[in-house]
């Protein structure tokens, strides 16, 4: 839902796959899929088309239903209602071992009593492929996952965390599925390894051209890897779109706040057409695109969209006077906490642009109206 006057500030690389995606037929379709456990609706009506060859990520907080949803797609659970279609065919009743899909589990679920090679060969073994070919297949995918050949006969119990991730990935790839699912596979490893694996996964996906459906609670991960993102909340999809769309044009407060740290103001539409703040004695300029029939709601600003103004400048559309009271170094950025009245705000600026400030200084905050987001409540 593009809003006039809001230009996306980040341009994504317009890779070939993005252009292709627009016209490709959906490989997986969910039509109003629901799953309830007793009176609890874990998945509450999800409708979604997944395009072949894309890396689609479902993000959401714990308990939003992501894992339940993916288990239904893989075949571990059955939907209470709704349809799941693979290339147009309904697969609700197809058991997991007959679906051309494969999952990398959160716990990886490697077979502890088998070697690396045996784990990766397993799907081929089930298909009845003879030993020699199995080994070729397994070797090929272990290479793709950057596992050294020397590990082939090692027991998985001897592998480190990162190595186990790769084995789990190779094992799933070796199944040669139509769709590969990932249930938060990187949540249990350290930061640096995770960053490396995220990029590798993305590369592998591009290389193989397979459809990846990925679940994570980390928005950072989703932004880095995905072609499209679906934000899930309380069993429903709040918004679907490309990472940049979701970030710059969130459709409701939940998505906005989920995608990053924000400052929010309770506002109501005043007679002068400006938005009066309920907490501070100021008013703000309304952006061009406002929700229809808006009377009161919330105005949200991202920390990086706010900046320090020179207090002398009186011709500001939006202005808050406050006191600098904390400073956090975030690598290439600095985050400040500013207090005004009873509220605290977060504001970020690049280290390169930073000016020497002292805690306790009086500061003036401002922003471009076009960067603000308003939602009705």
């Amino acid at each position: 839902m593009a809003r006039a006057g809001n230009r996306p500030r980040h341009r994504t690389l317009n890779t070939g796959s993005n252009r292709k995606m627009a016209s490709a037929p959906p490989i997986l379709q969910l039509k109003n899929v629901k799953k309830s456990f007793g009176s609890l609706n874990a998945v509450d009506g999800v409708t979604l088309d997944i395009v072949e060859g894309e890396l689609f990520t479902i993000v959401g907080p714990s308990g939003s239903g992501k894992t339940t949803l993916i288990r239904m797609l893989v075949g571990m659970d059955k939907p209470t209602s709704g349809d799941i279609l693979l290339r147009g065919k309904r697969i609700n009743d197809v058991p997991a071992n007959q679906r051309p899909t494969c999952m990398v589990f959160q716990s990886l679920a490697l077979f502890p009593h088998m070697t690396v090679g045996e784990n990766v060969e397993y799907s081929a073994k089930c298909k009845g492929i003879p030993k020699k070919q199995r080994k070729e297949i397994a070797t090929r995918y272990l290479n793709l996952a950057h596992m050294p050949q020397s590990y082939y006969d090692k027991s998985v119990k001897q592998c480190s965390g990162g190595e186990r991730q790769r084995v789990a990935l190779a094992r799933a790839l070796a199944f040669e599925p139509e769709i590969l699912f990932f249930d938060e596979p990187l949540s249990a490893i350290d930061y640096r390894l995770r960053k490396t694996l995220e990029k590798e996964l993305k590369d592998i996906q591009r290389e193989t051209g397979k459809t990846f459906v990925y679940i994570t609670h980390s928005l950072e991960e989703a932004m880095v890897m995905s072609d499209r993102i679906g934000v899930m909340r309380d069993g429903k999809l709040a918004q679907i779109g490309s990472p940049s769309t979701i970030y710059t044009q969130p459709e409701d407060r939940f998505v906005t706040e989920f995608m990053g740290e924000v400052n929010s103001f309770s506002v109501s539409l005043g007679d002068d057409g400006r938005l009066a703040s309920k907490e501070l004695a100021v008013s703000f300029a309304p952006p061009d695109k406002m929700p229809d029939g808006f009377t009161s709601g919330v105005l949200i600003m991202r920390p990086e969209d706010m900046s320090f103004a020179k207090s002398a400048d009186s011709a500001l559309d939006n202005r808050i006077e406050g006191e600098l009271f904390n400073e956090y170094l975030l690598g290439s950025r600095i985050q400040y906490q500013v207090r005004s009245g009873d509220m605290t705000f977060l504001i970020e600026e690049l280290r390169a642009d930073a000016v020497d400030r002292a805690l306790g200084d009086h500061v003036t905050l401002t922003w471009r109206t076009v960067d603000s987001m308003v939602f009705a409540e």
Binding site: R71, M76, D77, A96
Partner: protein, 264 residues
């Protein structure tokens, strides 16, 4: 693979149910036999009576056997948990050179034909000039029961995070204090379970008692004697009383265990 179909579920529950019933048939039967008026058990029971229980209650012989059984069980349980507690520490907590041999050797008395063990011990006591008595039975039963209780406590000890002890040490606790305030309480549930197990295993044990108790008679021994020759329905009566006592001990034990667990 995730969820079972209702049919499978029902079949599984039925199977469990059948086994459960089979496990308890003899006990129920014994109960029936104990209230049948006639001397020899016939089914369906023509007349019921509690006279066998009255006779049992007043029999000095039986009372003696109960006291013997209880004494043996009590001693076995108390001493066993102490030995087993340390044994479990050696089994699961401490890293020492003979550990794996220890772990294997400990299992042997469990995996052993009890009758042979009982006879061997009789031989042994005899050659040492020790009289067969209920005390000898205590010792004999311990040889078998201590390893079992050790395993029970060891299972608990395996889940024990040694870092807790290190933290206490870091906070200034002496070794004795750590033992008293951390090791003991954390292993408590295992110790208690082991204690219960020891009582119940000793209570129901026959082979070892038979060969080592000499003139003293435990309840299972008394039962055996009557079953071989001189059967009276006091046998099932005593049998049922044993069952009930065992059940009470188990129930009380579970209750206390539940309370201990909640405190954790």
């Amino acid at each position: 693979m995730g969820n079972l179909s209702p049919l499978t579920r029902r079949m599984m529950s039925t199977y469990i149910g059948v086994i459960l019933v089979i496990m308890y048939i003899p006990i129920v039967t014994v109960g029936l036999a104990s209230i049948s008026k006639s001397r020899f058990f016939i089914f369906p029971i023509r007349k019921t009576s509690t006279k066998w229980y009255e006779q049992t209650w007043s029999s000095l012989q039986i009372q003696d056997s109960f006291i013997t059984s209880l004494s043996v069980a009590g001693c076995v349980a108390l001493i066993s948990v102490i030995l087993a507690f340390f044994g479990a520490l050696a089994y699961a907590r401490y890293d020492w050179r003979g550990r794996s041999i220890f772990q294997q050797i400990l299992l042997i008395p469990i995996f052993f034909p009890q009758a042979v063990l009982g006879l061997a011990l009789q031989l042994w006591f005899n050659s040492l000039g020790i009289n067969m008595s209920w005390e000898a039975t205590v010792f004999a039963q311990m040889v078998w029961i201590v390893p079992i209780v050790t395993l029970i406590i060891a299972i608990q000890a395996f889940g024990y995070d040694a870092a807790i002890e290190e933290a206490a040490f870091d906070l200034g606790a002496s070794r004795w204090m750590i033992f008293r305030t951390i090791t003991l309480p954390l292993l408590g549930p295992g110790v208690f379970a082991g204690f219960l197990f020891a009582i119940l295993l000793s209570w129901g044990n026959f082979p070892l008692a038979y060969f080592t108790s000499g003139a003293d008679v435990t309840t299972p021994e008394w039962l055996y004697g009557k079953m071989i020759g001189g059967y009276t329905p006091m046998v099932p009566a005593v049998g049922l009383i044993t069952v009930l006592l065992g059940g009470i001990i188990l129930a009380v034990g579970l209750k206390i265990n539940g309370m201990l667990q909640r405190e954790q």
